[in-house]
């Protein structure tokens, strides 16, 4: 059971990072519909960087860079060219899949054995990791998980207690007011998307650098979209995102657990996997006080 929860926390890490990034951009009025592609290219960049240099740090930096390039392209088309976010995201997700598979072949040809890299080491935090039950679950993880722990309070603080956070939230609610205050709405949105791209790339690299040690084209398998969903489920709020991530992480772990215990039975395991999605739908329908940003998905055009 402890193993299961350790795994649940581990697998929640990239989802949490991605969802936090998504919360920030959506608060400025931008949905990152390219998140699946950003995850994928981050996973690939992390793998290639690590494989070619042998350094995990360079791998992580490469993942961040790849994520930012993808996000920059997304930002240029959606923020400055004012095109549909959903559509642009769809195109970039497909493009990312193509880029990764194609350049994987360019760089490595068709290897006879799968290319393998060392993964991020598990770091046991002194003292804390000795706490019974909780220690192994929370404090024997890799550096990205700890980064996620740190980012949660930072994200909450910045969004609600600083003037930067206020600006970001206003950009999504009332961009005209932000404009009148002398700030550049489009630049704020673009820079937020870039930062989100960096975090999204890092989140994606978790799957290669932090966990599997190899790259396959199906490695993300819709998990970027899960991060996207968690942002909605968490009501565009970093705190809510933590609970949303736990809901998805637990459902995943429980489904695996039940499958392992009961084998192939009639028990609808798939229902448990679908449960967080159903929950997201129900919450979207049931809650009238959703704090969905007023200008979510609407490009800003200055009147002149």
């Amino acid at each position: 059971m402890v193993n299961l929860l350790t795994r649940a926390i581990m697998m929640s890490t990239p989802l949490l990072l991605g969802a936090l990034a998504e919360v920030y951009t959506e608060r400025t009025g931008m949905m990152i519909c390219a998140i699946e592609g950003i995850f994928l290219i981050g996973a690939w960049g992390g793998f290639v960087g690590t494989y070619l240099t042998g350094s995990l740090i360079i791998g992580l930096l490469a993942a961040i860079l790849c994520g930012m390039v993808m996000a920059a392209l997304y930002g240029i088309v959606t923020v400055y060219m004012k095109q549909q976010q959903v559509v642009t995201g769809t195109a970039l997700n497909i493009l990312a899949a193509g880029i990764c598979a194609f350049f994987q072949r360019v760089l490595f040809g068709v290897p006879t054995t799968p290319l393998q890299i060392a993964t991020l080491p598990k770091i046991a935090i002194p003292l804390l990791s000795k706490i019974p039950v909780l220690g192994p679950i929370f404090f024997q993880q890799n550096i990205l998980t700890y980064l996620a722990y740190v980012l949660i309070p930072v994200a909450i603080f910045v969004l609600y207690k600083t003037s930067l956070g206020l600006t970001l939230r206003s950009t999504g609610e009332n961009p005209e007011a932000v404009d009148v205050a002398g700030l550049n709405v489009n630049r704020i949105r673009f820079l937020t998307v870039l930062v989100a791209g960096a975090i999204g790339g890092l989140a994606g690299s978790f799957y290669t650098v932090g966990y599997l040690g190899m790259f396959t084209s199906g490695i993300i398998g819709g998990r970027g979209w899960i991060a996207f969903a968690i942002c909605f489920l968490g009501n565009w709020n970093p705190k809510g995102v933590v609970f949303g991530t736990l809901a998805f992480g637990l459902a995943d772990a429980v489904a695996i657990y039940i499958q392992a215990v009961s084998g192939h039975t009639i028990f609808p395991n798939e229902l448990i996997i679908a449960l967080p999605y159903i929950l997201t739908i129900v919450l979207t329908i049931a809650r009238s006080n959703l704090s969905v940003p007023a200008k979510l998905g609407v490009p800003y055009a200055k009147e002149n």
Partner: protein, 355 residues
């Protein structure tokens, strides 16, 4: 007044630019793009079967792109075509397995067609209902619905629909009498392709020549203005999603009964998202969807063919690269066209002012 360049011209230009960019990426593999492409095209053209594959691949894409385009006209986003397609596929396989060899082919295909449309429409209609009744974000609900339907499909494939051998997560093959007949000998092109063409034309008629289509487009342009004009936008949301879902459901029918003849896990996972790209390429025009789908079908076959060229080592996934680049170019072309139009408009106004 100066004649304005139409959308198709910009789109075709963008597609060509996209093709050139993505083809030149072959240089990374130290290959001559012109040689490789002409080799691949020659291979496709010389072989009737492969040529037919273009239409086979285009068939479900026509349906899923229509499913996106239809709601798009009402300014709604139906991201859930994949789930509606699965709903149609589940019903198609269940009915075909149950009725195969028991009822005449034409009757069976008719029943399956209607029921798979209904299954997709049910999923779509629920999304539209959530939108109209609870003001839920249709984009989010439709996206989540795909995962729910796909979980349901996995469950059924593991239990009641699983093959008799119970080895893989797939169904038994359907009886020959439940196949959609092939229409071109020597290929896999089936009746579903004609069905897709007819459907696209019908959707065009519905959107542009009927009162319902007018209402849908009116809501899309400006839903508050439409409300003032006596159109109940809530009803339009439900209707548009019902029809869009049904269209995607029909893709389930043609893929199960026309191509795969069974249902398996992770069945055609990307036709939903390609549908979105195609609908945008066609600027939401149903007739344009046909041509854009055939283009994507061609690119798809091209990718596979290039992947099979001996000794060149091109990954078949180059298709994603090509389609992604083409889609981005088309999206950018909408921006370029708008900018060009604004500029010429401004110049026209200036001239008028000087007079």
């Amino acid at each position: 007044m100066k004649k304005r360049l139409g959308v198709p011209l910009y789109n075709i230009g963008a597609v060509l630019i996209g093709l050139v960019i993505s083809a030149s990426l072959l240089l990374f593999l130290k290959l001559n793009p012109v040689e490789v492409i002409s080799l691949a095209v020659k291979k496709i053209v010389s072989d009737g079967y492969t040529l037919g594959e273009i239409l086979v691949k285009a068939t479900p894409l026509i349906f899923t792109s229509l499913a996106f385009a239809f709601t798009y006209k009402a300014n709604l986003f139906n991201i859930g075509a994949q789930g509606q397609f699965y709903a149609g596929a589940i019903v198609a396989i269940a009915l075909s397995l149950a009725l195969g060899n028991r009822v005449p082919q034409a009757v069976l295909l008719g029943i399956v067609l209607v029921c798979s449309f209904a299954a997709g429409a049910l999923v779509g209609g629920l999304i539209g209902f959530a939108k109209s009744k609870f003001h839920a974000n249709e984009f989010l609900v439709s996206m989540m619905s795909t995962y729910v339907v796909s979980a349901l499909m996995d469950f059924l494939l593991r239990t009641s629909l699983q093959e008799n051998k119970a080895e893989y997560l797939q169904t038994d093959a359907i009886a020959k009498s439940a196949y959609l007949p092939t229409i071109l000998p020597g290929t896999r092109v089936h009746l579903g392709f004609l069905l897709a063409l007819v459907t696209a034309v019908l959707v065009w008629v519905l959107l542009y020549k009927t009162p319902l289509g007018f209402r849908i487009r009116a809501v899309g342009y400006n839903h508050s203005a439409a409300e003032l004009g006596g159109i109940r936008s809530g009803r339009i949301y439900v209707t548009a999603f019902l029809i869009a879902g049904g269209l995607a459901g029909m893709a389930g029918f043609t893929e199960v009964n026309g191509v795969q003849h069974m249902l398996l896990q992770n069945f055609n996972t990307s036709i939903g998202s390609f549908g979105i790209g195609i609908a945008i390429l066609a600027n939401g025009n149903p007739i344009g969807c046909i041509f854009a789908s055939i283009l994507f079908g061609f690119l798809n076959v091209m990718g596979t063919t290039m992947g099979r060229l001996p000794g060149l080592n091109i990954p078949a996934s180059i298709i994603d690269l090509i389609e992604g680049v083409v889609m981005i170019c088309v999206i950018m072309s909408y921006f370029v066209r708008k900018a060009a139009e604004t500029r010429s408009e401004k110049q026209r106004l200036k001239k008028a002012g000087v007079k």
